[in-house]
Each structure stands twice: as structure tokens, then as C-alpha cells.
């Protein structure tokens, strides 16, 4: 059973390998897209590395629910609707969406996920020791 520190170390390692960044860039507050330069295809790579590192299965779309962006009920005029925000909160309990909700422009969403969010996501999938 990994500790929270061990979860962070493995997430950090996965991000270093997937994104070609340095260890010290992968801080809990770093955003995946803005700070670490992740592109959409990198999420596929990150998910695969997390699956291997923690011996878990992550169904496609669970970490980053891309189907929300193509649903007309959830996105209108480039912004996420109230229903869309509700859906994102339901599917991404590991992410803090409060700041994004103030001006929910779709293009800004990728810049929201942080390394700490990734750790919380993993902690929701594995048992973590205190």
C-alpha cells in the first residue's frame, strides 16, 4: 500500500518520462498543460504509465473526459454550460473546478489539471497508507 509521498513520486516519474520534463518542474501545483507542456496525446501516454506504475486500469476518458467537449448539451459557444460543469464535477471529483467555473472557456480547461489533481486521481484508485 503506497503512502501519499510514494504516489507523488510515481506520478512525478510518469510525468517526467511522458513529457520529458525535469523532476523539479513536476511540483504539486504545476499544471500539466500550461507548466509541463502536455498535449492531448500525452494524456494517453500518462494514463498508460500510471496503469503500469500502480498496476491499475484506467478506462479511456476517465482521467480526462474528452467526450464532454463534443456534447452540445455541455458546451455552447465555446463555454461549458451549467449541466456540463455538473457533469465534470461528477466525473472529475479529484479536480478543483471552482476557478474554472468562474469563466468556463473550453480552451482553458486543459490548463486546469495539476500534478496534485493527478495524485488525487490515483489515490482514488489505490489504497493509500496514512
Amino acid at each position: 500500500m503506497p503512502t501519499k509521498d510514494e504516489v507523488f513520486e510515481k506520478v512525478q516519474e510518469a510525468l517526467v518520462e511522458a513529457l520529458g520534463v525535469d523532476d523539479d518542474e513536476v511540483t504539486p501545483d504545476a499544471t500539466l498543460v500550461g507548466d509541463l507542456g502536455a498535449e492531448s496525446i500525452d494524456f494517453l501516454d500518462i494514463v498508460f504509465r500510471l496503469e503500469k506504475a500502480f498496476d491499475i486500469k484506467i478506462p479511456r476518458g476517465e482521467l480526462f473526459p474528452e467526450d464532454v467537449w463534443t456534447n452540445a448539451e455541455y458546451v455552447q459557444d465555446g463555454k461549458v454550460t451549467e449541466a456540463g460543469l455538473e457533469e465534470l464535477r461528477r466525473r472529475m471529483p479529484f479536480a478543483n473546478l471552482d476557478e474554472f467555473a468562474k469563466n468556463p472557456v473550453v480552451q482553458e480547461f486543459g490548463n486546469l489539471l495539476t500534478v496534485a489533481d493527478m495524485c488525487r486521481f490515483v489515490e482514488g484508485k489505490v489504497e493509500v497508507a496514512d
Binding site: 496525446i41 494517453l44 501516454d45 494514463v47 498508460f48 504509465r49 503500469k52
Partner: protein, 250 residues
């Protein structure tokens, strides 16, 4: 040998161009798993022939239209070898007919096998190859993608789709050091082209500047070149291997 130690997967491997690819890759040193659909006798015979020469070859029965089975086969290879280096998508069928009388099932079976089948296997290897930061995919296209024949709109569409998929996939995966290319054969001596060759007779040879039908082995050597480390700066390309057919007759 050029492909020593490489782990390869070939679809449509029991006959035709796919079979020649299995032989070529294995002879160059790769450990080859090939997928066949229905001809278990041909598959077993190929495995026996090559293993008796000390080459590493295994066969798996599968319908390439089944994406779940594709993932199972790739996962089993990765479980055994901890990697997969080469994918050759060669499984393909024809079901010819003029558009006005082509049945929807004829359209669907060709698109599902030739295009979706290749997609299924491309998708199945993508994460592992990205993870490895290495890999080479070769999709079998056809000159029919560009120079479509009457009675083959389904086949031409499937191969045009292969070209588009090859280029899109190449662009996505190039930064992850995975290369994706296609080989577009012209008229080749296979069971699949037998009907056309029988119908057209010598006329078809006259249209080919080299005045002869190609052999499956002449496609397989180009596939092996693209699959291996001699082509490390090539991606997103469709190589025409057609005896000059695409140059036109004049």
C-alpha cells in the same frame, strides 16, 4: 540480421502478401506472430515450415474486425516479450461489384476488414509503442487508393482510408519515436488478385511499364525495409511498389 530480436505482429499472415511479410521478417531475425482468419491449414503449414528452419513464428486465429481480440493478441505479445516493435497490417479482402449494384454488405465487409481491421491493430499497439518510445507500423495500401478501378469503390475507399490513417497516425506518434508508413502494391500474384488477372489476361501486363505482375516477396522486402532501422527517418509515407503502373502508359 537487420531485424534480430525485434518482436513483430503481422495480420493476414497465412497467405499472399501477408505470408511473404511473415517469411521476410522472420528470415531477417524477427520473432513474428501472425494473425490469420480462417485458413488454419495454411497457417499451421507456414509455422511448421519456418520453425523447422529455426525461425521464430507463431500463429493466432482472429477476425481483424474484432477490436477486443486485437487488444488481447497485442497484450499477450507484450506480456511475453515486454515489448512490440513492428506491426504489419496486411489483412484485406475484395468484394467487387459496380456501385449501382453493390450491396451494402459488400461495402461494409471490405471497409470493416481492410480499414477498421487495420485501425483495430494500430490502436492496440499505440500505447505500448508510445510507452517504449519506439515502434514501426506498416499498413498495406494499394495503388487502387489513387488509381481506382471500376467495380472496386469499396476497396479503393478502404485503401484511401489506409493512406489517410497512416498519415494522421504518423503525425500523432512521430514525437513519440513511433513511425507509421504504408506500402501500396500494384498488381501482385496473390489469390486476391486472381479474379482480376484471369479476367484481364495479358492486357494487364501491357499496362505495367515493367511488363510483369509483381511477386508478394517484392512487397515484403519493402515492408521489411520500412519496418526496420534502415528507414528511421521515414514516417507518414505511402510507397508505391507497382512496376511503374502508377506512371501511366504513355
Amino acid at each position: 540480421m537487420q531485424l534480430d530480436g525485434k518482436i513483430a505482429l503481422v495480420t493476414g499472415g497465412s497467405r499472399g502478401i501477408g505470408r511473404a511479410c511473415v517469411v521476410e521478417l522472420a528470415r531477417r531475425g524477427a520473432d513474428v506472430t501472425f494473425v490469420y482468419h480462417s485458413n488454419s491449414e495454411a497457417a499451421e503449414s507456414l509455422v511448421a515450415e519456418l520453425t523447422s528452419q529455426g525461425l521464430k513464428v507463431q500463429a493466432e486465429q482472429a477476425d481483424v474486425r474484432d477490436g477486443t481480440r486485437a487488444q488481447q493478441i497485442v497484450d499477450a505479445i507484450v506480456e511475453k516479450h515486454d515489448r512490440i516493435d513492428i506491426l504489419v497490417n496486411s489483412a484485406g479482402i475484395v468484394s467487387d461489384g459496380l456501385l449501382g449494384s453493390m450491396l451494402p454488405d459488400q461495402w461494409a465487409s471490405v471497409i470493416d476488414t481492410n480499414l477498421t481491421g487495420a485501425f483495430n491493430y494500430c490502436r492496440a499497439v499505440t500505447q505500448q509503442m508510445m510507452y517504449q518510445r519506439s515502434g514501426s507500423v506498416v499498413n498495406l495500401s494499394s495503388t487502387a487508393a489513387e488509381f481506382a478501378s471500376r467495380g472496386q469503390v469499396n476497396y479503393a475507399a478502404s485503401k484511401g482510408g489506409i493512406n489517410g490513417m497512416t498519415k494522421g497516425m504518423a503525425k500523432e506518434l512521430a514525437p513519440r519515436k513511433v513511425r507509421v508508413n504504408a506500402v501500396a502494391p500494384g498488381m501482385i500474384e496473390t489469390d486476391m488478385s486472381a479474379a482480376v488477372r484471369n479476367l484481364a489476361g495479358d492486357q494487364i501486363k501491357k499496362a505495367i511499364p515493367m511488363k510483369r505482375i509483381g511477386k508478394p516477396e517484392e512487397i515484403a522486402t519493402v515492408v521489411a525495409f520500412l519496418a526496420g532501422d534502415e528507414a528511421t527517418y521515414m514516417t507518414g509515407q505511402v510507397l508505391l511498389v507497382d512496376g511503374g503502373l502508377s506512371l501511366g502508359t504513355y
